[in-house]
């Protein structure tokens, strides 16, 4: 009995000491050094406009529905790109709900971008990401949307392609990961172009 009591006392002291070190000192040390060395990243890689308003994060996708913007992937996070409620659809390969959603997304994507009714579309354009916050689309997906955006903004395809190119990231260090286009950065860059004000506000 005495041994048991001793063991529990040691266990309690060990819990408290380890909590102080691992859960107090350690995260605060990381916090201090991170805020000093990488303040931008440590606070969410936020993007602000000329007036200083936060417009989003370099790392988090946002919902876009108008013709003059590139559209992000479908999202299952809250009501769409809810960055306080990350989630995938978690629907399986034989889910009717998923198949119906994909059929609808494919039809919408073809219609919005003026594709043939039997054109194949890139998988990322019509499927939901794991986090619901995927900031990227594939270059193939961006390429298929470029004509629509150029038309809505009265830009040449070349101007749009140039912006896509500037916001495309290759694999990290030339090896890791897949090439990808950052949708929010691309759309903010389009807005900054400001050459012509957007005229069509379809899909309200």
């Amino acid at each position: 009995m005495k041994t048991l009591f001793t063991e529990l006392r040691v266990a309690l002291v060990a819990t408290l000491i380890l909590a102080a070190v691992c859960c107090g000192l350690y995260p605060l040390a990381v916090y201090g050094v991170a805020q000093a060395l990488f303040p931008k990243q440590a606070n969410g890689s936020l993007l602000t406009d000329a007036s200083g308003t936060v417009r989003g994060s370099h790392l988090l996708g946002q919902n876009f529905t108008s013709d003059q913007y590139f559209h992000s992937r479908p999202s299952s996070a809250g009501s769409g790109y809810d960055a306080a409620n990350s989630s995938g659809s978690n629907l399986g390969p034989t889910s009717r709900k998923l198949a119906d959603a994909i059929a609808q997304n494919v039809a919408d994507y073809r219609q919005q971008n003026g594709l043939a009714t039997n054109a194949v579309v890139p998988a990322d354009a019509v499927t939901a990401s794991a986090s619901g916050l995927d900031p990227h689309i594939s270059p193939a997906n961006a390429n298929l949307q470029a004509d629509r955006v150029a038309k809505a903004r009265h830009l040449s395809r070349q101007q749009v392609d140039e912006l896509i190119g500037r916001n495309t990231e290759g694999p990290d260090w030339g090896v890791f990961g897949d090439p990808r286009v950052n949708v929010l950065e691309l759309n903010l860059a389009l807005d900054r172009l400001g050459a012509s004000s957007p005229t069509s506000k379809s899909n309200p």
Partner: protein
Amino acid sequence: MKPLDAAQLALFVGILAIITKPLGLFLVRVLDANGRTWLDPMVGPLERLTYRFLGIRSTGQQDWRQYTASMLAFSLVSCVFTYAILRLQDRLPLNPQAFAPMSDHLAFNTAVSFTTNTNWQSYVGEATLSYFSQMVALTLHNFTSAAVGIAIAAALVRGLVGSSVRTLGNFWVDLIRITYYLLLPVTFVFALFFVSQGVVQNFSSYTHAKLSDPFTVQVPLSDSNGMPVMTNVVVTVHTAKLQADGTPVLKDGAAVWEDVPVRDGNGGVVHTNLPVMVDQKVDEQVMAQGPVASQAAIKMLGTNGGGFMNANAAHPFENPTPLSNFVQMLSIFAIGSALTYYLGRVSNNQAHGWSVWTAMMVLFLVGTAVCWWAEARGNPIHQALGIAGDSGNMEGKEVRFGIFNSALFATITTDASCGAVNSMHDSFTALGGLIPIFNMQLGEVVIGGVGAGLYGMLVFVVLGVFIAGLMVGRTPEYLGKKIQAYEVKMAMLALLVLTLSTLGFTAWAAISPWGLAGLNNSGPHGFTEMFYAYSSANANNGSAFAGLTANTPWYNITLGLAMLVGRFLMIVPILAMAGSMARKRTSPPSLGTFPVSGTTFVILLIGTVLLVGALNYLPGLALGPIVEHFLTGQSQLF
């Protein structure tokens, strides 16, 4: 499958092989109470101060019973500590979003989950937990449950190599030394690297961003009492319009869709109470923040896997770049891989250590190849709907990781009992999703959880040597010690308890209303969601077919029990085996000794893992992912 993918796989295995030796040598020093490391000047004083507070001597030795008692006492106290914080988080600091306390069953599930190194999450992190709960209640176990696992592995190895001894080391010394010398320094460096990639580390309240392109969503209308307003409407199904002969009506080659009222058995139209929906304009994005980097670093290195955010390592704030992803994958395997080197070093048989490592790598590479192939091949049902055949199955995957890094991560996280995910396993193809569940059912011995992987694999080594001994008709020996009835009984106990628990709980859930109520998918996939959950809990993995709504009293409690069984009913027989082996005398190898290194041993070990570990689960797998694979080929939907 792209050439760069193969290059990434080669880099992963290559770098893992390179770090295994130096990290293994470092482990030898950390796990020796008198070992010296270059961190001594910094950490030594803290270590001695801790011993003084604990009132223990660093030279004190424990036999297997004392070692087990200390381990259980620590697990119990730290589990209660976490439970208390989760229940009281509204009265504790660092709660900028003013989250309410967790319910009792959810707090039980979560406290057990983190204590057992499972890190199953029945809750949505960014919508449930205060920063204090994340940083203290959960991160504590990220360190200590990992340290406990490594300590048990070290105790087992000491029992195997010690000749005629009664003691296995000192639990408290192991716990403190592993945490201070190994886990803290490495995670500190990793955490800073992750911040440099974009992982957040702050204590701010959630950030609001102004959207460029506001949109409207439909939300339920509430009355003045906050209750949803309901209406009585006709239930319809959205379905392809059919001609009289049953073939679909086509327009421009595409099916025409229509809404048809659902009728009951008497032909009457079915009505339902649906909430009245109203438009709501969304013009800002609220971004969850928090001290994520410090937790993400240890959740990988300690093979915990519990995410700060709901989407875990798929969330861009937890795993922002393919580079951070690569380092996270590497850190999941790092310690488990190094422990095989530790085994070889301490048992004075380095070839044995590398042979165990090789067996693990073979099982890892086969799993990776199958998962990668299945996901790259994609889903024929979705391809028939118009998805390009060469873009694979991207449902539940992030563009920056793509097919390959998602499949690789899924294989690694389930091989290693980590349970972090960078893609949603629930949305994998049938065969792609079979690999994670199968990996867990092997008993988490392919690298495995830190420590847990090695002691789990050593159970299979003992069984393998025993089977080989039976085949040639000699008394089986391992590292110069006779394997006798007691050891084999303990090894089988550790394995059978897991099988019984996984299959038993799954069967129970599958025939119970509470089990079926939680499903997100129906058909065989729904069964797989339950099978996955209990396999994950028992294997102390923590990943999920996350569609399952597990935050209900029944699921929380049964999964909590499964996690306790998977952790402690495995550890206790293993420590008993270690105690029994320690007492035996080591005899020099003779001509009849079965060598525990080389190709024959590797094949024997893989065979034992597959036969003993996997056969128990094949009938269950046939009912879930295997039948689903064939149904996918026939475009059967549920």
